[in-house]
Symmetry: D2
Subunit: 372 residues, 4 copies
């Protein structure tokens, strides 16, 4: 049994003066398991992760937890509340266009600096001192900047401050219309089979602004820096982005399934009792991020999405059918766009209307089977 | 066999100078059947009607048509092209908030005036002269106003000008997430069973700005005006709004089914060969517009839509489940909102995130079975 | 000296669960002066009224107030916080397009009913009992409706509930780019010269959803109902909309001037000491609402606004110059649109880019001089 | 006298099928002067550059031109036509949030490759062959990518294709509310005094996606690559971004002044007769891009912009006054934010309502006087 403590964090103030807050639920670990940070709904329309956190809480309170766990649903109150028409326009700051999920902080100079200054530190001291260093740097850059920072960067920093305390970071997202898939850093490929997620993208060490990257990049590059000095250390932090279905969709039952998937990962790492949850047997496929391809519409019009998500599609099989009712009785009133190569589509655009150049599908290509 | 003639109509110019046009497909009738006007996609996200027009064209070109038929897909180019995030924000003018489907013209003074001035005109002269009158009035008010008219009213007038030539007007819409339903004016209740649409809303004589109303109100009120003078005449024009599923969704196969539904209506009225298409046998339900109820969220949060569309739901059965992750471990983190009375839900909101006061469901209440 | 008591009113909850609140500042009157309700910023971008309330509070706290005064800045937190690009998109509900300022409640049946049932009531009883009646009706319709009400109607009802207690209601707005003007109901035309506002629109008894109308219509129609029964009574409530310059613009100094204008009106009605503030001498012009004309762009393009606001423009003098850079070296690359008749422009569109049909200017025509 | 030839370029198709086009005006040079490309309105609300192009055309047609000149107004038809409320939401793709002005192409590998392969080429051959190379690469990446490219990248490539032909590239922008300022690459600092623009930002060799960078980066890095090989060459292309006042504002008279400024630059480079136009005498100030500081709101609320644009402000002098009407009678209802250091503000935010973290002002700091 675990006790859940609730609190909240102010992440911005709006024009009318109101503070916007994020709820935080935390469990104090009863042992020396790794600490965990789980967040959902950074993009306003991607609500299903909140239901997963709900189901996690429902189960964690029945279990013994050996590490600290922090769960943060509704992570972006501006995004959650930003409507435009019926839908939630919560993907980017409506003022600037900045993707909310690209405002996390990474100081690329710290890993090398730290490794040079502390060549012989013990691993546990590396973890505690490097963690203190990146937290101090985050606070300096984002909270104590005399010129201020953008709304998005401040929000990200408030979340990142909590995530930086954790050894395991899970950022729960969804695609537009999407099947489940996982972003897994290459340094921990074997983790990919611990979730009940059939499709996996392996991502390299680059920083592109997302939370998972912001959490693992410092440690991964620290490993590299020590390696350059001839010392092998582990990457102390593991961070993943889980894409759990479609945006604008809530289902408590499906969320329960996904909470089991996460619990089996936590169980594997002894955050909860080892072996208490196990990953489901399934065939899992992965591809490298460079082989994760976006199909852009080469023709505008109305679109029927033909390729099923999460299934293998062969080169030449149809992806979309485009209807152009301004061109009836011309040859191209209805046209089908085929897959250029063998692939597994994992998401498609949310609307049936597309401009030339709108993203239609995202595809795993050159994919391979993962083995446990 | 019928020949399809294509043309286009300019409906506005945009800030960069470009004219926005609407494609028009027309068939010249080979007999004296009633004339028909069919339009789709007045709301930008409601694209399925375009596919229905595609399927109608595919079939009409194989058939003999006895009346003139005008088909207008993509009726609102501004709405079609207005994106905000992934979705199409085509329900209202982005500048003013005016619902695009509320800008049609109706001059309430003309019916009574005409009836008083022409008490003894033959029915066929009534039809031709009153039609000429309302067309002239429309052109005067909307095209020759020295102060100009709004973008929406000009667009509506361009479409209404074509619709005013027709005896039968069908305006193809969709709901947000929706099952098929029909708006049928009360004066022609028996028409409701001629379409393959299981749920019907019977609407009174009031004008609220939509195309169907703008087309039948003049004629319905003309009937009333003659009736007040002691003469019984028929309502010369029939106009309907068909709601054919969900917005942001295109399916050519489902569109074919709906095209059959429309062909059976046209066949009934001898626009095409009588008896060539028949309505499908199904139980149809109707209710009066005053009994078409909207359920507004009394609580904000994340919503799971539980009540199935197009099916009977009993009082007390669940409509939505609301998740409030800011209130975990309070009694109301998950709450279910039940139906207040027996009903048939026909549409629900498109997003899983709602404010207090957001429309959740629309319901037929006090509904009754329609018989052929 | 008056004491200012602050409180707040919850007006809705957002998708993430947060309550949105409106600050309320009130002064308890030290005598039997009329009660006053002043509100600002119902449209999110129209912020200057907040500065006027600030300046009013700064002065009222130094003065003796004989009637209760309620001041409500930031009246619409959803509107205030709704950004789209740099600007505040606070004119209409982003979900529905409903103008926030058109959701107030008016039950047209109550005045006649009340007058019939209470033909001989004393005037003071009429005021107290009819006020109780319309408040009860408002609460019934808007707060106790089992199907709920829209976000906008609930917000409006929360504000209207406070406004219904007052004898004098001032709703502070601004235009897009605008000079000062006043909406004054026809039954109290002589009030128009009590404000320092040079241009006045006289509005008839119709209800179109705005706060001023929602406050005076019940009482004006009650007067009419008694008049129909042969009894002359006064309209017990006075309500105005003040347009105090341009949206997206804040100026504390100009706000101080407008606070004096309001204090001179309140002084005239003995809310504060009679004669303590006097209206400024100026020539004031008025026109009837039917003569308040909107000029819509008959041509799209880029627009230079040439006619100065708040000044007399003669027929034929230029309003706008339109640049169409898609048409260089054609005759109409630059065109000037002249005024069709003598007029006083009081506002123009906020953007230099217009579609065909965009509102360009609003003009007083057939205007006349007001005398004190 | 020069003849102006007009044409148009298709840059995308919209959901309803319509092609969006950009007008192109070109003049064939009558000598061997450098070729010029001038573009305006890449951000939809920044319309004033169109008026400048209008005034340039009016004058160029009277003059002899020695180099080819291409002028492209209304460069972004999607941006121009994207409204949200009264204003033009044309800064970023409404679907993705991508800044329209960050989609230009730069292949960082080509300069070094070319220099290595062609160490001894004559300068004129370098120019013609390297130009052919980057054009071929642009076409390959953007027009012949089998997976397609985003709407924004395609649009940018269509414009960049034209700009790549020119020796001088001017991209005409405006700020939100802004005084004139110039982005000038460091390699041609002396150009800064040739325009009538009092404030100049000197930018380094990095590529951040804008047109000026996309045009000069290949050539600047080519210079560097040759330099690394020990050969000194000139940077063959000059490219600038001119910020000509505020968005949503059109003024043909001011545009005429800016056209003179551009003509004096073109005259200096013998595109038109040398000495026919001269820069105006004025004190010009510059700073390095790293010293161009953004002030973000550390407090949300309503803002009065106090610091004048284009003038020197001393440390401690006020920038903005913030009104928080939710906090009346607390100490911070009105607060002033001072400048942190001596600066020249050149632009401020367009709205009076700001969130915590909204950009308030942009400032030149550590600025210096430029001499001719």
């Amino acid at each position: 049994m675990s006790q859940i403590i609730s609190s909240e964090v102010e992440v911005t103030h709006m024009a009318n003066g109101q503070a916007m807050t994020v709820p935080v639920y935390s469990i104090k670990g009863q042992g020396n398991g790794p600490s965990v940070y789980i967040q959902a709904n950074m993009h306003g329309a991607e609500v299903q992760g909140n239901a997963v956190i709900y189901q996690l809480l429902e189960q964690l309170k029945q279990l013994d937890c050996y590490g600290d766990i922090t769960l943060v649903p509704l992570a972006n109150p501006i995004g959650s509340n930003q409507k435009s028409g019926e839908f939630t326009l919560g993907r980017f700051d409506p003022i600037t266009g900045d993707n909310w999920n690209r405002g996390y902080h990474f100081n690329a100079q710290l890993p090398q600096q730290f490794a040079q200054q502390n060549p012989d530190l013990s691993m546990s001291d590396i973890v505690s001192q490097f963690r203190a260093l990146i937290i101090a740097d985050l606070e300096q850059q984002r909270f104590n900047n005399p010129y201020g920072v953008t709304t998005g960067r401040f929000l990200c920093a408030k979340l990142q401050r909590m995530a930086f305390e954790a050894d395991i970071v899970l950022d729960l997202h969804t695609g537009p219309i999407s099947s489940r898939h996982l972003y897994c850093p290459e340094y921990t490929k074997q983790s990919a089979v611990l979730f009940d997620i059939p499709h996996v993208l392996f991502i390299p060490r680059d920083f592109d602004g997302a939370l998972d990257e912001a959490c693992f990049c410092p440690w991964w590059q620290l490993q590299q820096a020590y390696s350059d000095q001839g010392r092998a250390i582990e990457v102390a932090v593991k961070a993943f982005t889980l894409e759990l279905g479609s945006q604008e969709w809530l289902c408590l039952e499906e969320a329960k399934r996904d909470s089991h998937s996460i619990l089996s990962y936590l169980s594997h790492h002894s955050v909860i009792k080892k072996g208490s949850f196990e990953p489901t047997a399934m065939t899992r496929y992965g591809c490298d991020l460079k082989d994760y391809r976006t199909v852009y519409a080469n023709k505008s019009g109305l679109v029927e999405y033909l390729a099923p998500l999460g299934q293998q599609v062969k080169a030449g099989e149809p992806l979309v059918r485009t209807l152009r009712m301004d061109r009836y009785d011309q040859d191209d009133v209805v046209e089908v766009t085929p897959a250029l190569e063998n692939c597994i589509p994992v998401l498609h655009f949310a609307s049936a209307s597309v401009n030339q150049g709108t993203e239609l599908y995202k595809l795993l290509t050159n994919y391979f089977t993962l083995s446990r």
